[in-house]
Protein backbone atom coordinates (compact mmCIF):
# COMPACT_ATOMS: atom_id res chain seq x y z
CA UNK A 1 0.00 0.00 0.00
CA UNK A 2 1.54 3.27 -1.12
CA UNK A 3 0.60 5.57 1.75
CA UNK A 4 2.72 8.39 0.39
CA UNK A 5 0.57 8.40 -2.71
CA UNK A 6 -2.57 8.51 -0.58
CA UNK A 7 -1.22 11.45 1.38
CA UNK A 8 -0.22 13.21 -1.78
CA UNK A 9 -3.65 12.73 -3.35
CA UNK A 10 -5.39 14.12 -0.32
CA UNK A 11 -3.02 17.08 -0.32
CA UNK A 12 -3.55 17.66 -4.00
CA UNK A 13 -7.33 17.44 -3.66
CA UNK A 14 -7.31 19.67 -0.62
CA UNK A 15 -5.24 22.34 -2.35
CA UNK A 16 -7.32 22.13 -5.48
CA UNK A 17 -10.54 22.44 -3.52
CA UNK A 18 -9.18 25.22 -1.35
CA UNK A 19 -8.11 27.22 -4.38
CA UNK A 20 -11.30 26.56 -6.28
CA UNK A 21 -13.53 27.46 -3.36
CA UNK A 22 -12.99 31.22 -3.60
CA UNK A 23 -12.85 31.06 -7.38
CA UNK A 24 -16.09 29.12 -7.49
CA UNK A 25 -17.74 31.57 -5.13
CA UNK A 26 -16.56 34.64 -6.98
CA UNK A 27 -17.15 33.47 -10.51
CA UNK A 28 -20.30 31.54 -9.63
CA UNK A 29 -21.78 34.51 -7.85
CA UNK A 30 -20.85 36.87 -10.61
CA UNK A 31 -22.37 34.64 -13.27
CA UNK A 32 -25.50 34.16 -11.17
CA UNK A 33 -26.20 37.83 -10.55
CA UNK A 34 -25.13 39.42 -13.81
CA UNK A 35 -26.90 38.99 -17.05
CA UNK A 36 -24.95 40.08 -20.07
CA UNK A 37 -24.61 39.15 -23.67
CA UNK A 38 -22.33 36.21 -24.06
CA UNK A 39 -22.78 34.98 -20.52
CA UNK A 40 -23.48 31.56 -21.99
CA UNK A 41 -20.12 31.65 -23.71
CA UNK A 42 -18.28 32.47 -20.51
CA UNK A 43 -19.97 29.46 -18.97
CA UNK A 44 -18.99 27.39 -22.00
CA UNK A 45 -15.39 28.53 -21.70
CA UNK A 46 -15.27 27.25 -18.14
CA UNK A 47 -16.58 23.85 -19.21
CA UNK A 48 -14.17 23.55 -22.15
CA UNK A 49 -11.26 21.82 -20.37
CA UNK A 50 -13.57 18.86 -20.00
CA UNK A 51 -13.98 18.13 -23.69
CA UNK A 52 -10.34 17.25 -24.27
CA UNK A 53 -9.06 13.85 -23.21
CA UNK A 54 -7.17 14.43 -19.96
CA UNK A 55 -3.85 13.23 -21.30
CA UNK A 56 -4.12 15.59 -24.26
CA UNK A 57 -5.15 18.47 -22.04
CA UNK A 58 -2.22 17.43 -19.88
CA UNK A 59 0.08 17.62 -22.85
CA UNK A 60 -1.12 21.11 -23.77
CA UNK A 61 -0.74 22.18 -20.17
CA UNK A 62 2.74 20.63 -20.13
CA UNK A 63 3.64 22.80 -23.08
CA UNK A 64 2.10 25.96 -21.61
CA UNK A 65 3.73 25.39 -18.24
CA UNK A 66 7.17 25.00 -19.77
CA UNK A 67 9.81 27.57 -19.13
CA UNK A 68 9.51 28.88 -22.67
CA UNK A 69 5.79 29.63 -22.33
CA UNK A 70 4.41 32.70 -20.58
CA UNK A 71 2.75 30.90 -17.64
CA UNK A 72 5.83 28.84 -16.89
CA UNK A 73 8.08 31.88 -17.24
CA UNK A 74 5.92 33.92 -14.89
CA UNK A 75 5.94 31.14 -12.33
CA UNK A 76 9.68 30.79 -12.69
CA UNK A 77 10.16 34.50 -12.18
CA UNK A 78 8.10 34.46 -9.00
CA UNK A 79 9.15 31.21 -7.41
CA UNK A 80 12.42 30.37 -9.08
CA UNK A 81 10.99 26.98 -9.89
CA UNK A 82 9.46 25.26 -12.86
CA UNK A 83 5.76 24.39 -12.91
CA UNK A 84 6.02 21.12 -14.77
CA UNK A 85 6.79 18.02 -12.72
CA UNK A 86 6.15 19.89 -9.50
CA UNK A 87 3.39 19.71 -6.96
CA UNK A 88 2.45 23.28 -7.78
CA UNK A 89 2.09 22.28 -11.40
CA UNK A 90 -0.33 19.43 -10.75
CA UNK A 91 -2.33 21.64 -8.42
CA UNK A 92 -2.64 24.26 -11.13
CA UNK A 93 -3.58 21.64 -13.71
CA UNK A 94 -6.18 20.19 -11.35
CA UNK A 95 -7.59 23.61 -10.71
CA UNK A 96 -8.05 24.25 -14.42
CA UNK A 97 -9.52 20.83 -15.01
CA UNK A 98 -12.02 21.14 -12.17
CA UNK A 99 -13.23 24.66 -12.91
CA UNK A 100 -16.68 23.59 -14.11
CA UNK A 101 -17.30 21.38 -11.08
CA UNK A 102 -16.39 24.16 -8.73
CA UNK A 103 -18.25 26.95 -10.46
CA UNK A 104 -21.46 25.51 -11.85
CA UNK A 105 -23.12 24.15 -8.71
CA UNK A 106 -22.25 27.34 -6.87
CA UNK A 107 -23.66 29.45 -9.66
CA UNK A 108 -26.91 27.51 -9.68
CA UNK A 109 -27.14 27.84 -5.93
CA UNK A 110 -26.64 31.59 -6.02
CA UNK A 111 -29.30 31.83 -8.68
CA UNK A 112 -31.89 30.51 -6.27
CA UNK A 113 -31.21 32.97 -3.46
CA UNK A 114 -34.38 35.10 -3.43
CA UNK A 115 -33.69 38.67 -4.49
CA UNK A 116 -35.81 40.00 -1.65
CA UNK A 117 -33.76 38.20 0.95
CA UNK A 118 -30.56 39.78 -0.31
CA UNK A 119 -32.23 43.16 -0.44
CA UNK A 120 -33.48 42.70 3.09
CA UNK A 121 -29.92 41.98 4.17
CA UNK A 122 -28.72 45.22 2.60
CA UNK A 123 -31.52 47.12 4.29
CA UNK A 124 -30.44 45.53 7.56
CA UNK A 125 -27.09 47.18 6.99
CA UNK A 126 -25.18 44.04 6.09
CA UNK A 127 -22.33 44.91 3.78
CA UNK A 128 -21.86 42.92 0.60
CA UNK A 129 -19.34 40.72 2.31
CA UNK A 130 -21.44 40.14 5.43
CA UNK A 131 -24.44 39.47 3.21
CA UNK A 132 -22.29 36.85 1.55
CA UNK A 133 -21.11 35.20 4.74
CA UNK A 134 -24.22 35.50 6.84
CA UNK A 135 -27.02 35.17 4.31
CA UNK A 136 -25.88 33.88 0.96
CA UNK A 137 -23.39 31.25 2.09
CA UNK A 138 -25.79 29.52 4.46
CA UNK A 139 -28.42 29.53 1.73
CA UNK A 140 -26.14 28.17 -1.00
CA UNK A 141 -24.59 25.67 1.37
CA UNK A 142 -25.87 22.51 -0.35
CA UNK A 143 -24.63 23.75 -3.73
CA UNK A 144 -21.29 24.70 -2.26
CA UNK A 145 -20.89 21.30 -0.64
CA UNK A 146 -21.74 19.65 -3.93
CA UNK A 147 -19.17 21.75 -5.71
CA UNK A 148 -16.46 21.02 -3.20
CA UNK A 149 -17.15 17.32 -2.96
CA UNK A 150 -17.26 16.88 -6.73
CA UNK A 151 -14.02 18.82 -7.10
CA UNK A 152 -12.31 16.87 -4.36
CA UNK A 153 -13.43 13.51 -5.63
CA UNK A 154 -12.70 14.30 -9.23
CA UNK A 155 -9.18 15.37 -8.26
CA UNK A 156 -8.59 12.18 -6.33
CA UNK A 157 -9.50 10.11 -9.35
CA UNK A 158 -7.82 12.37 -11.91
CA UNK A 159 -5.02 10.67 -13.66
CA UNK A 160 -4.29 11.71 -17.23
CA UNK A 161 -3.60 15.38 -16.61
CA UNK A 162 -1.71 14.80 -13.39
CA UNK A 163 0.41 12.07 -14.92
CA UNK A 164 1.34 14.19 -17.91
CA UNK A 165 2.09 17.41 -16.06
CA UNK A 166 3.49 15.79 -12.95
CA UNK A 167 5.50 12.90 -14.35
CA UNK A 168 4.56 10.54 -11.50
CA UNK A 169 7.51 11.42 -9.31
CA UNK A 170 7.36 9.39 -6.15
CA UNK A 171 6.44 11.47 -3.14
CA UNK A 172 5.93 14.58 -5.20
CA UNK A 173 3.52 14.06 -8.05
CA UNK A 174 2.62 10.39 -7.90
CA UNK A 175 -0.94 10.36 -6.65
CA UNK A 176 -2.86 7.35 -5.51
CA UNK A 177 -4.68 7.29 -8.84
CA UNK A 178 -1.36 6.90 -10.62
CA UNK A 179 -0.17 4.38 -8.09
CA UNK A 180 -3.25 2.24 -8.63
CA UNK A 181 -2.90 2.62 -12.37
CA UNK A 182 0.71 1.51 -12.13
CA UNK A 183 -0.23 -1.56 -10.23
CA UNK A 184 -2.86 -2.39 -12.82
CA UNK A 185 -0.36 -1.87 -15.62
CA UNK A 186 2.04 -4.15 -13.78
CA UNK A 187 -0.67 -6.80 -13.61
CA UNK A 188 -0.37 -6.60 -9.86
CA UNK A 189 -4.11 -6.95 -9.46
CA UNK A 190 -3.94 -7.72 -5.81
CA UNK A 191 -2.18 -4.53 -4.85
CA UNK A 192 -4.37 -2.53 -7.23
CA UNK A 193 -7.47 -4.08 -5.74
CA UNK A 194 -6.35 -3.45 -2.20
CA UNK A 195 -5.52 0.17 -2.89
CA UNK A 196 -8.74 0.69 -4.77
CA UNK A 197 -10.72 -0.79 -1.93
CA UNK A 198 -9.04 1.38 0.67
CA UNK A 199 -9.59 4.42 -1.52
CA UNK A 200 -13.23 3.57 -2.14
CA UNK A 201 -14.02 2.89 1.49
CA UNK A 202 -12.22 5.98 2.74
CA UNK A 203 -13.94 8.10 0.12
CA UNK A 204 -17.31 6.57 0.82
CA UNK A 205 -17.07 7.33 4.49
CA UNK A 206 -15.66 10.79 3.99
CA UNK A 207 -18.17 11.86 1.36
CA UNK A 208 -21.01 10.23 3.21
CA UNK A 209 -20.16 12.11 6.35
CA UNK A 210 -19.81 15.41 4.52
CA UNK A 211 -23.16 15.02 2.80
CA UNK A 212 -24.77 13.69 5.92
CA UNK A 213 -23.61 16.57 8.06
CA UNK A 214 -24.27 19.17 5.38
CA UNK A 215 -27.73 17.76 4.87
CA UNK A 216 -28.56 17.73 8.54
CA UNK A 217 -27.41 21.30 9.05
CA UNK A 218 -30.65 23.12 8.41
CA UNK A 219 -32.00 21.84 5.14
CA UNK A 220 -33.41 25.12 3.93
CA UNK A 221 -35.82 24.68 1.09
CA UNK A 222 -36.48 21.04 1.85
CA UNK A 223 -39.44 20.38 4.06
Amino acid sequence: MDWTAFRLSVELAAWTTAILLPIGLLVGRWLAYHRFRGRGFVEALIALPLVLPPTVLGYYLLVSFSRDAPIGQLWLAFTGDGLNFSFAGIVLASVIFNLPFAIQPVQRAFETVPAHVREAAWCCGLSTSRTLTRIELPLIWPGLISAMVLTFVHTIGEFGVVLMVGGAIDGETKTVAIAIYDRVQAFDDEAAGAMSLVLLIASFIAIGLVYGLAGRARGVGVR
Partner: protein, 237 residues
Protein backbone atom coordinates in the same frame (compact mmCIF):
# COMPACT_ATOMS: atom_id res chain seq x y z
CA UNK B 1 18.55 11.80 1.52
CA UNK B 2 20.29 9.60 -0.94
CA UNK B 3 20.28 10.12 -4.67
CA UNK B 4 17.37 8.04 -5.99
CA UNK B 5 16.99 8.88 -9.64
CA UNK B 6 13.72 8.39 -11.47
CA UNK B 7 14.09 6.07 -14.43
CA UNK B 8 11.56 6.34 -17.26
CA UNK B 9 11.06 2.95 -18.84
CA UNK B 10 8.84 1.52 -21.52
CA UNK B 11 6.10 -0.60 -20.07
CA UNK B 12 7.27 -3.79 -21.77
CA UNK B 13 10.17 -3.70 -19.30
CA UNK B 14 7.67 -3.84 -16.44
CA UNK B 15 8.90 -7.17 -15.03
CA UNK B 16 12.43 -7.42 -16.31
CA UNK B 17 13.59 -4.02 -15.17
CA UNK B 18 12.06 -4.40 -11.72
CA UNK B 19 14.13 -7.51 -11.24
CA UNK B 20 17.29 -5.83 -12.50
CA UNK B 21 16.71 -2.88 -10.18
CA UNK B 22 16.42 -5.22 -7.23
CA UNK B 23 19.69 -6.92 -8.12
CA UNK B 24 21.27 -3.52 -8.61
CA UNK B 25 20.19 -2.40 -5.20
CA UNK B 26 21.37 -5.58 -3.61
CA UNK B 27 24.75 -5.33 -5.25
CA UNK B 28 25.47 -1.62 -5.00
CA UNK B 29 23.27 -0.44 -2.16
CA UNK B 30 21.91 2.26 -4.39
CA UNK B 31 18.31 2.38 -5.47
CA UNK B 32 16.40 3.82 -8.37
CA UNK B 33 12.75 4.75 -8.79
CA UNK B 34 11.16 3.12 -11.81
CA UNK B 35 8.41 4.82 -13.77
CA UNK B 36 6.85 2.61 -16.39
CA UNK B 37 4.76 4.14 -19.08
CA UNK B 38 4.41 4.86 -22.72
CA UNK B 39 7.73 5.63 -24.38
CA UNK B 40 6.07 8.40 -26.32
CA UNK B 41 4.81 10.18 -23.20
CA UNK B 42 8.28 10.01 -21.68
CA UNK B 43 9.75 11.43 -24.83
CA UNK B 44 7.48 14.47 -24.50
CA UNK B 45 8.06 14.89 -20.82
CA UNK B 46 11.83 14.72 -21.22
CA UNK B 47 11.59 17.33 -23.95
CA UNK B 48 9.84 19.51 -21.35
CA UNK B 49 12.60 18.95 -18.83
CA UNK B 50 11.16 16.07 -16.83
CA UNK B 51 13.45 15.11 -13.95
CA UNK B 52 14.08 11.61 -15.28
CA UNK B 53 17.72 10.69 -15.39
CA UNK B 54 17.62 7.63 -17.56
CA UNK B 55 15.29 6.88 -20.43
CA UNK B 56 14.67 3.34 -21.64
CA UNK B 57 12.55 3.60 -24.73
CA UNK B 58 10.79 0.82 -26.55
CA UNK B 59 11.40 2.73 -29.77
CA UNK B 60 14.85 3.94 -30.56
CA UNK B 61 13.63 6.79 -32.76
CA UNK B 62 12.50 8.71 -29.65
CA UNK B 63 16.01 8.47 -28.26
CA UNK B 64 17.47 9.73 -31.50
CA UNK B 65 15.03 12.62 -31.60
CA UNK B 66 15.67 13.66 -28.00
CA UNK B 67 19.38 13.39 -28.59
CA UNK B 68 19.13 15.67 -31.58
CA UNK B 69 17.16 18.15 -29.49
CA UNK B 70 19.95 18.07 -26.95
CA UNK B 71 18.09 16.63 -24.02
CA UNK B 72 20.26 13.53 -23.72
CA UNK B 73 23.87 13.06 -22.90
CA UNK B 74 24.52 11.04 -26.03
CA UNK B 75 22.85 8.79 -28.54
CA UNK B 76 22.66 6.06 -25.91
CA UNK B 77 22.92 2.39 -26.60
CA UNK B 78 20.72 -0.36 -27.90
CA UNK B 79 19.94 -2.55 -24.90
CA UNK B 80 17.41 -5.04 -26.19
CA UNK B 81 15.38 -6.15 -29.15
CA UNK B 82 11.80 -7.03 -28.38
CA UNK B 83 9.91 -10.07 -29.52
CA UNK B 84 6.21 -10.56 -29.88
CA UNK B 85 3.95 -13.48 -29.09
CA UNK B 86 0.43 -14.50 -29.87
CA UNK B 87 -1.38 -15.17 -26.61
CA UNK B 88 -4.68 -16.49 -25.40
CA UNK B 89 -6.05 -17.21 -21.95
CA UNK B 90 -4.57 -20.39 -20.61
CA UNK B 91 -6.42 -23.45 -21.78
CA UNK B 92 -7.81 -21.79 -24.90
CA UNK B 93 -5.00 -22.36 -27.31
CA UNK B 94 -7.32 -22.70 -30.31
CA UNK B 95 -5.58 -19.89 -32.17
CA UNK B 96 -2.16 -20.00 -30.58
CA UNK B 97 0.69 -20.86 -32.91
CA UNK B 98 3.66 -18.77 -34.00
CA UNK B 99 2.95 -19.08 -37.70
CA UNK B 100 -0.55 -17.64 -37.19
CA UNK B 101 -2.08 -20.54 -39.11
CA UNK B 102 -4.60 -21.32 -36.43
CA UNK B 103 -5.52 -17.68 -36.27
CA UNK B 104 -6.11 -17.87 -39.98
CA UNK B 105 -8.45 -20.78 -39.67
CA UNK B 106 -10.36 -19.11 -36.87
CA UNK B 107 -10.73 -16.12 -39.13
CA UNK B 108 -11.83 -18.26 -42.01
CA UNK B 109 -14.50 -20.11 -40.13
CA UNK B 110 -15.58 -16.81 -38.57
CA UNK B 111 -15.20 -18.03 -35.03
CA UNK B 112 -12.81 -15.26 -34.03
CA UNK B 113 -14.63 -12.75 -31.91
CA UNK B 114 -12.08 -10.14 -30.99
CA UNK B 115 -8.33 -9.93 -31.18
CA UNK B 116 -6.18 -7.49 -29.24
CA UNK B 117 -3.05 -5.62 -30.24
CA UNK B 118 -1.46 -2.40 -29.04
CA UNK B 119 -2.37 0.64 -31.06
CA UNK B 120 -0.16 0.49 -34.16
CA UNK B 121 -0.51 4.25 -34.58
CA UNK B 122 1.94 4.86 -31.79
CA UNK B 123 2.86 1.79 -29.77
CA UNK B 124 5.98 0.02 -31.09
CA UNK B 125 4.54 -3.39 -30.21
CA UNK B 126 1.40 -2.46 -32.05
CA UNK B 127 3.44 -1.71 -35.15
CA UNK B 128 5.18 -5.03 -34.90
CA UNK B 129 1.88 -6.84 -34.42
CA UNK B 130 0.46 -5.21 -37.49
CA UNK B 131 3.52 -6.13 -39.50
CA UNK B 132 3.26 -9.72 -38.40
CA UNK B 133 -0.40 -9.88 -39.33
CA UNK B 134 0.35 -8.26 -42.66
CA UNK B 135 3.15 -10.69 -43.28
CA UNK B 136 0.74 -13.54 -42.64
CA UNK B 137 -1.65 -11.91 -45.08
CA UNK B 138 -4.36 -11.59 -42.46
CA UNK B 139 -4.41 -7.85 -41.78
CA UNK B 140 -7.35 -7.01 -44.01
CA UNK B 141 -9.35 -9.89 -42.65
CA UNK B 142 -8.63 -9.34 -39.02
CA UNK B 143 -8.80 -5.57 -38.90
CA UNK B 144 -12.55 -5.40 -38.20
CA UNK B 145 -12.06 -7.80 -35.29
CA UNK B 146 -9.26 -5.87 -33.61
CA UNK B 147 -9.37 -4.04 -30.34
CA UNK B 148 -6.55 -1.68 -29.60
CA UNK B 149 -4.80 -1.18 -26.32
CA UNK B 150 -3.33 2.18 -25.58
CA UNK B 151 -0.10 0.38 -24.93
CA UNK B 152 1.10 -3.15 -24.92
CA UNK B 153 0.08 -3.93 -21.37
CA UNK B 154 -3.48 -2.79 -21.99
CA UNK B 155 -3.43 -5.02 -25.06
CA UNK B 156 -2.34 -7.87 -22.82
CA UNK B 157 -5.28 -7.16 -20.55
CA UNK B 158 -7.63 -7.39 -23.48
CA UNK B 159 -6.01 -10.52 -24.82
CA UNK B 160 -6.55 -12.29 -21.53
CA UNK B 161 -9.93 -10.72 -20.65
CA UNK B 162 -12.06 -13.55 -21.95
CA UNK B 163 -13.98 -11.24 -24.24
CA UNK B 164 -11.30 -11.62 -26.90
CA UNK B 165 -9.87 -14.79 -28.29
CA UNK B 166 -6.35 -13.53 -27.78
CA UNK B 167 -3.88 -11.01 -29.08
CA UNK B 168 -0.37 -10.17 -29.98
CA UNK B 169 1.72 -8.70 -27.18
CA UNK B 170 5.29 -8.39 -25.96
CA UNK B 171 7.10 -11.60 -25.20
CA UNK B 172 8.57 -9.95 -22.12
CA UNK B 173 5.15 -9.69 -20.49
CA UNK B 174 4.41 -13.40 -20.59
CA UNK B 175 7.83 -14.78 -19.89
CA UNK B 176 7.64 -14.06 -16.23
CA UNK B 177 5.49 -12.30 -13.73
CA UNK B 178 1.80 -12.72 -13.06
CA UNK B 179 0.76 -13.26 -16.69
CA UNK B 180 2.98 -16.29 -17.16
CA UNK B 181 0.53 -18.65 -15.51
CA UNK B 182 -2.57 -17.06 -16.98
CA UNK B 183 -1.56 -17.19 -20.59
CA UNK B 184 -0.75 -19.65 -23.25
CA UNK B 185 1.41 -18.22 -26.03
CA UNK B 186 3.59 -18.86 -29.05
CA UNK B 187 6.51 -16.79 -30.22
CA UNK B 188 6.15 -15.10 -33.57
CA UNK B 189 9.21 -15.40 -35.78
CA UNK B 190 11.55 -12.42 -35.76
CA UNK B 191 11.31 -12.29 -39.50
CA UNK B 192 7.62 -11.42 -39.38
CA UNK B 193 8.28 -7.82 -38.31
CA UNK B 194 10.89 -5.12 -38.17
CA UNK B 195 13.12 -5.51 -35.16
CA UNK B 196 11.86 -3.75 -32.04
CA UNK B 197 15.06 -1.89 -31.31
CA UNK B 198 15.01 -0.62 -27.76
CA UNK B 199 17.46 2.10 -26.93
CA UNK B 200 18.33 3.78 -23.67
CA UNK B 201 20.20 6.93 -22.87
CA UNK B 202 21.14 9.08 -19.92
CA UNK B 203 19.30 12.35 -19.73
CA UNK B 204 21.49 15.44 -19.62
CA UNK B 205 22.70 16.17 -16.09
CA UNK B 206 22.05 12.64 -14.88
CA UNK B 207 23.42 11.91 -11.44
CA UNK B 208 25.78 9.31 -10.04
CA UNK B 209 23.28 6.59 -9.33
CA UNK B 210 21.62 6.86 -12.71
CA UNK B 211 25.02 6.51 -14.36
CA UNK B 212 25.79 3.50 -12.22
CA UNK B 213 22.48 1.91 -13.14
CA UNK B 214 23.05 2.72 -16.81
CA UNK B 215 26.38 0.93 -16.57
CA UNK B 216 24.84 -1.92 -14.62
CA UNK B 217 22.29 -2.45 -17.36
CA UNK B 218 25.12 -3.16 -19.75
CA UNK B 219 26.64 -5.75 -17.42
CA UNK B 220 26.15 -9.46 -17.89
CA UNK B 221 23.92 -9.90 -14.87
CA UNK B 222 21.40 -7.41 -16.20
CA UNK B 223 21.63 -8.72 -19.75
CA UNK B 224 20.90 -12.17 -18.43
CA UNK B 225 17.73 -10.98 -16.85
CA UNK B 226 16.67 -9.25 -20.07
CA UNK B 227 17.37 -12.41 -21.99
CA UNK B 228 15.45 -14.34 -19.43
CA UNK B 229 12.41 -12.17 -20.10
CA UNK B 230 12.62 -12.94 -23.78
CA UNK B 231 14.53 -10.00 -25.15
CA UNK B 232 17.12 -10.56 -27.84
CA UNK B 233 20.38 -8.99 -26.83
CA UNK B 234 22.05 -6.79 -29.45
CA UNK B 235 25.74 -7.40 -30.02
CA UNK B 236 26.46 -3.89 -31.13
CA UNK B 237 25.39 -0.91 -29.06
Amino acid sequence: QQDRPVIAAASDLQFALSEIAEQFEAETGRSVRLNFGSSGNFRRQIAQGAPYELYLSADETYVHALHEEGHLEDGGILYAIGRIVIVAPRGEDRIVDGSLVRLRSALDDRTLRRFAIANPDHAPYGVAARQALQAAGQWELIEPRLVYGENVSQAARYALSGDTDGGIIAYSLVRGGPLAERATYALIPESAHDPLRQRMALVADAGETARAFYDYLQQEAARAVLADFGFELPDTP
